[in-house]
Structure formats: C-alpha cells, structure tokens
C-alpha cells in the first residue's frame, strides 16, 4: 500500500492507463504547461509529450465535442473540465451526443470517453462555482457516473472508467485533492463500476453517502458508536449504475436509512435512492428515510450562509438518532 493524495491517485490511474494504451489522451484547460489547475496532471506533459497531454483554449463545448468525435473514430479521450461547473457550456455534447450516439447509430459507434474534474462545493465560490452535477448527469441513459470518496477508490475506479466502452462522468473534488489515503499497489488495480462499498458495518442504521459526504457519514458513525449505536456506512461510489442491492441488503438488517448528499434535494440522488428503497424494502423500514442535503437554494457566498447551506454533520447525527427513535 502506498499513501497517495487524491490527486496523485488520479494521476497514477491516468498515467498507468496511458502507458498501457496509446489511444488515450488527456485534454483540457491548463492540463499541460500549467500542470493542471489543481495539479492533478502535474508532470504528465513531460512524460507523454504534447501529442497526448493537450492544453485547450476556454472552449468546453468545442473540446468536449472534439472528444466525442475522437472517441467515435477510435481514440479514448480523457476530457478534463477545470471544474464541472464549466461542463454546462458543453452539456449539449454530453446530453445529445456522448449519451445518445451509440443508440442512434444502432450500436455502430461507441464512445469510450471519460469526462473528469472537480464537482460540487469548494468553499465560498458563490452560486455558479459550487454545483453538484451528479443528479443532472445521472438522469442520462447511456452515461455512467462515478463519484469516489477516497484515493484508493479514485484510482481503481478511474482505471475502470478509462477502460469502459461507454461515456463516463468521473466526479472529483477540489477540497479532497490533497487528502491522503492508502492506495493498493496491485498491478492493474481495477474496481468494478457499479459496486458500492460497505465502509463500516453495523446493524442500527444505514447511512448512504458518496464523495465528500462520505466523510461526514464516518464522523457521524463515530459519534453514534460512542453512544453504542452501530451505523452501517455505505459509499455507493458509482451513482449510475447504482448498486441498490447492497443498500437494500443493509436496510433489511438495520431497518433505517439516512442519506447524506451535498446536492440540492429536489429530484436528486437522494430522491432516487429513497424511491428505490421504498420499492424494494418498504416492509423492512421502521422509520421514514431521512436525507441531509444542501439547502434547496443557489449557493450563497457569505461564509456563514455557505456553512449553513452545506449538509451538516450535526444534522446528520440528529437524523440518525431520530430514525432510531433514540431521543
């Protein structure tokens, strides 16, 4: 096991895959000469040269579409969005082209492409720079969506995403890039897409949380453990396809569920998970499912409002106690 930063794990995944397969290239704003706006691709230009690590103008619509075309014509692009907030100027390429061309062509063309970059909130960046995009992209049949919470999963899942024959949205986080964690040194470390991870076992309440929210879930589980409640923490890791089986299995054991998600609540991942749970495990539930999400508002700038906006550890902790009728 090597200890790597989140960004280093992503870099390692891209580097290993690019060494293995010459069809893979990395393209995006500031990825080459600047070494990445968040230093994810540091050193990759030096290693692979300008043919395969390519700086672009600020033209997301253009280079996302270029990626789709290159994928249709036999390459395997990794397209970096400086942040996923800027993917919205390219959203037509993702929604109408990447997601649908395989289908519209009757399977003649496949689009093995990874769109990756930081997603979600990263401090006081105000409304346009804090969007959690997972529920938006997860609505799209034809697309897979991955959101790892730690360096090990980031590496194993990104390698799988790059090898996947479908368009994959791979969501990272500015505020997690410096986070360190043990990463498997297994050669060809691949984590299957669509498989949740039971991060902590317990039988009193199931907490489902991905990405940054996963870390809130662990802290809440610790607090509950101090009170002799055993929370089971499930990190879905992949948003689409969702490993609902693992979640349902857990709920059949705990009979309660709290979902933590930093997306806004309406029509979100938490709505979807809640629907699927009630569909499959309604009779096992002993309490309504509770979700702790971002506020149902655009993201404010002011520090106190921003803190208030984000899903809070205390709220999640209280929600767990509530569904266990602990009070």
């Amino acid at each position: 096991m090597a200890v790597l930063q989140f960004r280093e794990a992503i870099r390692a995944a891209m580097t290993e895959e690019m060494e293995r397969d010459e069809r893979i290239f990395l393209m995006g704003e500031e990825v080459a000469e600047y070494n990445g706006a968040y230093k994810v691709s540091e050193g990759m230009l030096a290693k692979f040269g300008p043919k395969r690590v390519i700086d672009t103008p600020i033209s997301e619509n253009g280079f996302a579409g270029l990626g789709v075309g290159a994928a249709m014509n036999g390459l395997r692009p990794i397209i970096e969005f400086m942040t996923f907030n800027f993917s919205f100027v390219a959203i037509d390429q993702i929604v109408n082209n990447a997601a649908k061309i395989r289908y519209m062509s009757g399977g003649q063309y496949k689009i093995p492409i990874v769109f990756r970059g930081p997603n979600g909130a990263a401090g006081q960046l105000a409304a346009t720079h804090n969007t959690s995009t997972e529920s938006i992209y997860a609505t799209l049949p034809g697309i897979k969506v991955i959101s790892p919470s730690n360096p090990d999963d980031a590496k194993g899942l990104l390698k799988s995403a790059i090898r996947d024959e479908n368009p994959v949205i791979f969501l990272e986080s500015e505020s997690m890039y410096a986070m360190k964690g043990e990463v498997s040194d297994e050669e060809d470390y691949l984590i299957p897409i669509g498989k949740a991870r039971i991060a902590r076992e317990g039988d009193d309440v199931t907490i489902v949380a991905h990405g940054k929210s996963y870390w809130i879930a662990l802290r809440v589980a610790d607090r509950l453990a101090a009170e002799s409640f055993n929370a089971e923490v499930i990190d879905p890791r992949t948003i689409r396809p969702l490993d609902i089986d693992t979640i349902v299995e857990s709920i059949k054991k705990t009979n309660r569920c709290v979902i933590i998600d930093e997306s806004t609540p309406f029509a979100s991942i938490s709505s979807e998970i809640t629907y699927q749970i009630q569909e499959r495990a309604f009779d096992w539930l002993d309490a309504p499912i509770v979700r702790i999400t971002a506020k149902d508002t655009p993201t404010p700038y002011a520090r106190n409002l921003m803190e208030h906006y984000m899903p809070g550890e205390d709220d999640a902790y209280e929600a767990c106690r509530r569904v266990m009728y602990a009070d």
Binding site: E33, Y34, I58, Q124, L125, T297, R303, L305
Partner: protein, 391 residues
C-alpha cells in the same frame, strides 16, 4: 427596407429586429472589404482587405474628448481608488476576511475609467466578467458596498450573496460580474436588444476577457448583435493571459479585431494603458452603437497580479511584468496632469490621503456590517415569498 431598419433606432422608429429582411451589408468608412465579384454572380475568388482604426496611447487630450478638468481629476482619483481598494482587498484576503476567489484588476484601471467617462452612467448599461471591482468603482459604486460584498456582509452590493465575482448595481446599470467565462456576452447583447426595443437611447458595454474569445457564446452573440443591429459594443479586455495561457497558446488568430470581419462589424484596437484612448474609442463606437451599429473593440491591457490569489505566475517573466508596470496608467495620468499644470503635488497628496481613508473606511464599514441572517438564504430565489422550499 433593410436600410430603414438599420436607421430605426436613430429615428426613434418602431424597434425591429430586421423582420426577416436581410441586414444591409455595410462596413465603416474606416475599413474596406473588397470582394472581386458582385454578389449576384459566383466569384472567381474572394479577396478581403480590412483596415481597422487604432487608438494608441498619448494621442488624445481631454479637451478634444470634451472632458472637463474635473472629470480628468475624477479619472485619476478613481483609478487610484481602484488600486488602493484592491491592494487592501488582497491584504484582507490574507487575513481571511474574504473567501473564495479574488481576481484583481490592478493594471487594467484605465479601461474601466475610460469607459465610464465615455458613457451616460445610469442610462447606459455595462456587463462584465468576474474581474469586476474596477468597473464597479468606476461606475460610482461605493467602496463601502464593494468591500462589504467581498466580506460577505449584508451591507454588500449583493447583500453578501455574490462575493467578489458578482458585483451588481441596478442603480448604476451594472448588470453583473459573471463567473462562467463568456456566458454573459449573450446577456450583454440581450440588454442592448432591450435598449433598442424600448427606444430609450441606451447602449450596452459588454466586457469580456481574451480567454472568453474561445467560447462559442461570443460568436453566437456577435452574429446576433450585428444581424439585429443592436446598440452594443463588444469589448475584449485583452490582458494577454487567460489564467496561465497566453493568447498565443490559445488562439490561431491573436489579432482579435479580425473576428469582427466575420460578423460584418466594425472593429478597432485600443491601447488600454491610457484612459483617454479608451474613452475616445468608446465615445466613437458608442455613437455608432446608438445609431444601430454594433462593434468590437480589442483593448490591450495587462494585469500586474496573478489570475487570482493562488497563481505562481510561472507563465510569464519578471521582465515582462516590470516593463508593463512602467507603462502604468495611473502614472501616465499623473504626468499628463502635471505637464499641463492641472494639478500640483500638494493636491496629489491630498487625493492620495483621501483615497487611502476612503478604503480604510470601507474596511471598517465591511467589518461592522452584519453577516446575513441564516434565514436570508431563502431570500431572492423566487419572486414569491411563500415558495415551498424543501427542508
């Protein structure tokens, strides 16, 4: 028919967006497009020769621009205010009074001040990107409301909801500071559309960076502006870099005025280190805009600071930076005023002290202004005050 439409704004006739009639192809008298065959027959070949006007530094004096001595002093003072405001903001960022991104305008002050002096502030409209402090102050927003916005306080121009990138002032007709590169340029064209539609005589200055030229939105907006003959000036604030990417590394054609040819728009190149050059260019093109002729200005300028607060600036040399700093717009203005005996050293010192105090007062104001109340998070999302939010 097309001819009439073109002039409809000036005549105060009913606003129209051409009504499907083809736009009359004309270019300003300053430029010439030579097509070697008439449009009714298929050409043998096509030759394009275009001449763009330029507005270099030190060419214009305030009298010929119709600016009073008072305005000149205001221009100097406002540039100084912008600089001191931002230097202090950088310091406050270090003290974590300000969070998120902070993009400084230091070096580019002449652009905002020249523009503000050339338009009817409060009647004409302005929209820009996230590097917006300078324009806000130039349009007359107070240092207090600007600093309080950076501090995320209710006394801020956007009540602390927007922060550094999102200065707005309805009173000054500043339609924002915007964070998605290029995305506000179609909005600028829409603001101009409304000016024409309402026949209120206003124009919209639409500022964006060199990096934004890479966005498709700019091209769609340019065509719409020209096609509908809207009262807009599209203004590229070319500070040579988009984060760490120089224009040479991002654009096949770095002479941005050329873009205008494709949209049958006049264009000009302006040296943005002299506020008079900027003012003159915007006066000239503002007049054209009011007559229904949109245009493109490339204003060459330079930012002395990094892109934002965390930028190691390895993409440029110290020498390059120093040489640009020697071309400083504030020093140029000072020299201009001294040469003409418009002001003496004592007065400069007084202005200096005043500006310094204004900025200190702004910091005190921002510090003293309360944080927004937590329930304010639900204000200003919908018109209805009883919207059923999910909790």
């Amino acid at each position: 028919m097309a001819n009439e439409t073109r002039k409809s704004h000036a005549k105060g006739a009913a606003a129209s967006t051409n009504g499907g009639a083809p736009k009359k192809r004309t270019t300003s008298s300053k430029e010439k497009i030579i097509l070697d065959a008439s449009s009714d027959s298929f050409p043998e070949s096509i030759e394009v020769a275009v001449k763009f006007e330029t507005y270099p530094v030190d060419r214009y004096g305030h009298e010929e621009l119709g600016l009073s001595g008072e305005t000149v002093e205001w221009m100097y003072r406002n540039m100084l205010l912008q600089r001191r405001f931002e230097e202090r903001a950088a310091q406050m960022y270090g003290k974590q009074k300000i969070g998120g991104f902070l993009h400084l305008y230091v070096g580019q002050e002449a652009v905002s001040v020249g523009a503000a002096a050339a338009i009817n502030v409060g009647e004409d409209s302005v929209i820009t990107a996230y590097r917006d402090h300078g324009l806000g102050l130039a349009l007359g927003m107070s240092a207090d409301e600007c600093m309080a916005e950076l501090f995320g306080k209710v006394g801020g121009c956007s009540k602390g909801k927007g922060g550094s990138m999102h200065f707005f002032s309805k009173k000054r007709r500043l339609f924002g500071g915007h964070g998605i590169v290029g995305a506000h340029v179609p909005i600028g064209v829409g603001i101009a559309f409304a000016h024409k539609y309402k026949e209120d005589g206003g124009i919209c200055l639409t500022f964006f960076g060199d990096g934004a030229v890479g966005q498709g939105a700019i091209h769609e907006a340019s065509n719409l502006a020209s096609l509908y003959e809207l009262p807009v000036i599209l203004i590229i604030e070319n500070n040579q870099y988009a984060m760490g990417t120089s224009i040479e590394r991002a654009f096949a054609e770095t002479q941005f005025t050329h873009q205008a040819v494709g949209y049958d728009m006049p264009a000009a190149l302006v040296d943005g280190m002299d506020p008079f050059s900027v003012c003159k260019a915007i006066q000239d093109h503002g007049k054209m805009a009011r007559e229904g002729k949109p245009s493109l200005l490339e204003i060459r300028t330079y930012r002395y600071r990094g892109h934002s607060m965390s930028d190691p600036q390895k993409y440029r040399t110290k020498e390059e930076l120093e040489s640009k700093k020697n071309d400083d717009p504030i020093l140029r203005m000072k020299a201009y005023m001294l040469e003409r005996d418009m002001i003496d050293d004592a007065k400069f010192e007084a202005i200096d002290a005043e500006v310094k105090q204004e900025v200190l007062d702004a910091v005190a104001f921002a510090d003293g202004s309360p944080e927004p109340a937590l329930e304010d998070i639900y204000d200003d999302i919908y018109e209805e005050s009883d919207y059923p939010y999910l909790f």
